[in-house]
Point group: C2
Chain length 196, copies 2
DNA sequence: TTGAGCGATCCAGTATTATATATCAAAGCC
DNA sequence: GGCTTTGATATATAATACTGGATCGCTCAA
């Protein structure tokens, strides 16, 4: 059953995953069952309009009707907002590294309790994960994550964390406001090894 | 059954009516039955996502997912395109007058055959119909329509028609490019449209 | 008056969605 | 190795979307 709603559903799934919400969590917020969501996302079932709306609303998305003519403009706007000019890439090599970093932050939250800095950090990582990065940028991130890992044990980590968060955020902002047409160099995949 | 999809459906209906497509015509293009569409539009039935997409696609609309944060910007964009800054109003007092005018033009097309001027005229009327107008503006339109009615019989109406069409279009353009924030005087009825 | 097109409504039957619940393998964490 | 979470899947049942008609009241034009 290949439908035209495919891409919409894919988009919903992407944002769900990008914001780290599980199907179960979403099912509660949206008032649907987990199995339902699973079937919708995997294309085994076509949702009703209202189910779909419930689902997307719970993800902070709005379903909108746009004249075909304006569709490109709108989707441009949307993309510019979420990933300021660079291509979304899923399942890329550095995913693993970011995944680890994200888990690390989560763990720190669990251990030391939530803090504004940790929250910022988590969000920034989530952002960077979806962005194409040059080797140089990736290198910087690697370092920062290493520092994070290094400080995780200490109870006096707070100032370090703040510093790391600020650094990452600076990077994020520079990416976000880069000249829109400038083709990013795109990292080369050198993953897999050197890691501490 | 008050659903959250209400406004989307209303929007679809509005564009259908604004572009003068009947439920039956739409049902053919969209591959649904007329009774189905009727029930959907009147809220007696909740469409499936794919039915809704079929329906809107046939109206040259795209269903899009937009981050809530951007929703205002997008709907601003959309409204600016269709009705440059003024509120859509449906079922307002001057509808009848416009309805007559529209039919009149249609009839003229039938009798004298289509012409570029008549086409422009029809489109302009359709536009003006959806716009809030001051008394003054309405007065002008009334006059022009009267002139149109007066000339409809003549086979030598062409130059008059062209003139009328130009006048209406001038009005339309002045409305379209009016300062966006300037609150239109708005004839009588103050019915804000804020979607629910 | 007659006829055509419009949208709303009804009806019977089928197909599909949606729920509730439970299980399962895979991956991550302890 | 155990414990937890995640997403996919199964089954049985209730709910409803959707089709295919047909009809009705209405408005408008011939």
């Amino acid at each position: 059953m290949a439908y035209q709603s495919e891409s919409l559903i894919a988009q919903a799934r992407e944002t769900r995953e990008a914001s780290g919400v599980s199907q179960r969590a979403l099912s509660e917020r949206a008032g649907l069952t987990q199995s339902h969501i699973s079937q919708i996302e995997s294309g085994k079932m076509e949702p009703g309009l209202s189910s779909f709306i419930d689902m997307t609303r719970a993800l902070d998305l709005e379903v909108m009707l746009v004249p075909k003519k304006l569709a490109p403009a709108v989707s441009g706007l949307v993309k510019a907002q979420s990933t300021p000019d660079m291509h979304i890439h899923t399942g890329q090599p550095n995913d693993k590294r970011f995944g680890r970093a994200e888990r690390l932050v989560k763990k720190m939250k669990r251990v030391y309790g939530s803090s504004a800095d940790l929250d910022r950090l988590e969000e920034t990582i989530r952002f960077l994960r979806r962005v194409r990065l040059s080797d140089q940028e990736m290198q910087l991130i690697r370092e920062l994550i290493a520092r994070l890992e290094h400080h995780k044990v200490s109870a006096q980590a707070a100032p370090f964390i703040r510093d790391i968060a600020q650094n990452l955020e600076r990077l994020r902002n520079s990416l976000a406001h880069a000249a829109p047409s400038e083709p990013r160099p795109a990292y080369s995949l050198d993953d897999e090894d050197a890691d501490a």
